[in-house]
Symmetry: C2
Subunit: 320 residues, 2 copies
């Protein structure tokens, strides 16, 4: 099992989370952006080379489990005598908002991603939400430009590192952020205007993630800005949305790596695949949902997305 031209290179945290939701709580379960990205891409049969760092408290057994699912974990440094990154949060009753209760950087404090030699020709790069300077350092280490670079970030970096963030955003193909972050980054209230502004910063594609309200994909096309919308699946219960955005990202880039395309049509499909995989993550705590998806369950869910968005334009236009 080795890294090849359809493998995804992903940089992101591998960590522990303590989570409280209206449905219960979990103490120190495995989480982190890199973890969710890897599990999600794995459901598509796409190999992910993970670059991250953990402490001695991160069980080798868990790394073995990830490896058995198809992830390449030799890019995850395991630091003796140190502790893994830890986040603790509590979700509000409506599951849309959450409060961070505790953040311990631990090994993340002096994390410098080092890309293994044999992964430096990666064609598919997912830069998970970390310091934009580190995201840039990953691009600097590669041999040539990947076919596709997707970057995820958040308001925290806009608050404290806007200039390095804008510098790295200028170097990527796809940016994924939420609606409030799109407004903050652009200074525009209207999402259409925000999208136009952000697409002028460098990326060809912008994905605005709206949680339970779905995801908007914007594209700088020849005739101006085009867009596509994918709803979130209405779930019986959102048990734990932690990692939903990263599962989306892993499914998104995983689909593109799997089909080997980066055109607008493929991007639309990738948004649907990402949304479908995120829905599994929301249904259980931690990685429980995403780590037990098989292709039958995924195909059935993709069909649900199709049913929920399908209507016949011809029938409507005729009626006018």
């Amino acid at each position: 099992m080795s890294f090849d031209s359809s493998s995804v290179l992903a940089v992101g945290t591998v960590a522990f989370d303590t989570i409280q939701t209206p449905f219960g709580s979990r103490e120190r379960i495995v989480g982190g952006a890199g973890t969710y990205i890897g599990w999600s891409a794995s459901t598509l049969g796409v190999r992910t080379g993970l670059v991250s760092v953990v402490g001695e408290d991160f069980a080798q057994e868990e790394l073995n489990r990830m490896q058995n699912a198809g992830m390449l974990v030799e890019g995850i440094e395991r630091k003796a005598g140190e502790k893994s990154f830890f986040w603790s949060g509590s979700y509000h009753m409506d599951m849309n908002g959450r409060d961070t209760l505790e953040t311990e950087l631990n090994v993340l404090a002096d994390f410098k991603p080092v890309i293994p030699e044999e992964w430096k020709g990666a064609k598919w790069l997912m830069l998970g939400n970390i310091d934009p300077n580190l995201q840039a350092s990953v691009l600097d280490q590669l041999e040539g430009r990947p076919e596709l670079v997707v970057l995820d970030t958040m308001n925290f970096w806009m608050d404290i590192a806007m200039e390095p963030l804008k510098a790295v955003i200028a170097r990527v193909d796809v940016l994924t952020i939420n609606d409030e972050e799109a407004r903050q980054l652009s200074g525009e209230r209207s999402l259409m205007k925000a999208a136009r502004c952000i697409l002028n910063m460098g990326p060809r594609y912008l994905i605005i993630k709206k949680g339970e309200h779905g995801a908007l994909l914007f594209h700088k096309g020849a005739d101006g800005v085009e867009y596509f919308f994918c709803p979130a699946l209405p779930l019986e219960e959102v048990v734990d949305p932690t990692g939903a955005g990263d599962s989306f990202a892993g499914g998104f880039i995983g689909h593109l790596a799997s089909v080997g395309k980066t055109d607008f049509e493929a991007m639309k499909e990738a948004v649907v695949v990402g949304s479908a995989l995120a829905s599994f993550t929301c249904e259980s705590f931690g990685t429980e949902g995403i780590s037990s998806v098989d292709s039958g369950a995924l195909n059935a869910r993709l069909h649900q997305f199709r049913k929920m968005t399908r209507w016949e334009e011809q029938r409507v236009a005729v009626a006018l």
Copy 2:
């Protein structure tokens, strides 16, 4: 020009609004649920018989304008020496929230809808957001059961008149409310569970309006609850969302009356038509947008909705 089997009977306010938004303000412009419903259905060539009440301050000229656009206004009582219903509100910067600054019931205080004799056989009934006891009194006045009854309501009536509201909801086919109202009415946090609960209260269809986040249609089918999602169009600017929900409702029932169908597929299309018409209302103050839509503009917008939601399931499934 007379009321026929494809005409919509609509009961709702015809009133004055004073509106403040981040884009400016308008003083005492024509508004009201009935007004927006009528204008919206008119764009589809569907005649709407409006049942409402106004004061002497409501210009006959404005009623003439509505009549010229295809609305039947003889069901609008004009009370000498009295003033029209008046609402004043201010929208927040994000345009999703708003504060009511003033409400003067005026003629609405003792409004008792009286359905003109020749409209009592209506097949398509839109009960705009008024006191649920008055909505019930409209149903009581009709000769037989319309083919379709759509009811719009709001949290205000859930707070002060939940029992009469539930009683009239049990008598309709389609209920339209927003997501918070669906949660309040059902006592369920999950929209899926809320929908299932509400569909057990009587209606065959439930539409959950989520403003800029689109609309969800739920249907009690033979195999359980089915659903359909239509996004809202991302607009350059939401200038004034007042009346968007009523424009949606007018377009929704107008489309169904126009095609003469009430099956799930027709409902989906009606949700798209309603969403498209609501987008015109949001682009200008008051009825300015909705009153100047022609079929070319509407068809072009419906095509935008199609483009924004279209993806090929086959291509995704094959990739797995």
